[in-house]
């Protein structure tokens, strides 16, 4: 099936669209935590000291979220927030932002390292195959990050890499 020529992702149209995508993603994470945890939307409203309708309004239309509000909502659920800039080799933004679920899953798979020392201590792909994966410094941190996961057993290695192992 013929694919369209690469074109700008809709989040490239204006900053509001990009912000909308990020805040949607953020609230989707909070929804996931609330579904899995003890605090629901009503409980979140109580913790925040605001009405449930105000919380519901934010979840339905997240455009008014500020960074402070984002932190406030996350902290009310006992969560933390990090802002991540990354280079995914898509400078024209044809594919859109990578979902935070991807970054989170990578972090969890790596054992939730809390700092660079933890990260270094964990078994990493680059440690096992330093020569093959001597990435140039310009390559995205995200790709290196992803490259560190899922290769602790040989099943996920390609035949070529299995030979190397």
């Amino acid at each position: 099936m013929k694919r369209p020529q690469p074109q700008a992702h809709w989040t490239e149209t204006n900053l509001d669209d990009y912000k909308s995508r990020i805040t949607f993603d953020f609230l989707d994470q909070l929804t996931g935590f609330m579904e899995a945890g003890p605090v629901n939307q009503k409980g979140l409203a109580i913790k925040l000291g605001i009405g449930e309708s105000a919380v519901s309004q934010i979840f339905n239309n997240p455009n008014n979220l500020t960074l402070k509000t984002i932190i406030k909502y996350a902290r009310a659920l006992g969560l933390k927030v990090s802002l991540l800039a990354y280079d995914d080799n898509d400078p024209d933004n044809t594919r859109g932002p990578i979902g935070s679920d991807v970054f989170n899953e990578c972090w969890v798979r790596q054992g939730k390292p809390s700092d660079a020392f933890d990260l270094k201590a964990s078994t990493s792909f680059t440690d096992q195959f330093p020569a093959r994966f001597a990435f140039p410094t310009a390559i995205s941190a995200t790709n290196v990050f992803v490259g560190n996961f899922g290769v602790t057993n040989n099943e996920v290695l390609t035949p070529d890499l299995r030979d190397a192992a």
Partner: protein
Amino acid sequence: MVFPQIYCVGWLEGHSPSQRRGLAWLLPRPSLAQVDAKKTYYEELDAAVRQNLKNRFDWWLRTFGVTKKEYCHGWDEEGYENVWVFKYREHRIFGFLCHPDPAEPGFLLCVLCSYTIKEGWEADKTLKDLIAAFAVNKKKLTAAIAVHEAASCPHRNEEHKTNEATTTTSTLD
């Protein structure tokens, strides 16, 4: 229901398909009043609603193995297995799921057909029936998509030409 002679399918602008999933508008020729998703989306919905729908489209394109019925869902009922809906508040965009290219069996396309405002608890059965009929007819439709990869739709300049990326078309039996 008299099905149109020609189907056009246009990619959603700004939502590039991946190797796994894609989104397209159904654009039958001659047009059908009930197949109004694209026209309504671009001409009648306000920007904030569109933005929220875009986020749901985006979520579906990139998410695997997670169900969020508040964003989009299908039905298990017999006859409606391929019907799909995207939701934002009372806004509904109905479409159907298909694997349009036998050479790429892993590629799932959602063809968006109709817009409606949800009024009752249950989804509009008439509309679901219409979409299900398209889904049943999808063998012809998907064959059209697969065979006529690069063809341009003869009517594509009539409307929304700036919003169409690639259009495929075929005359059906």
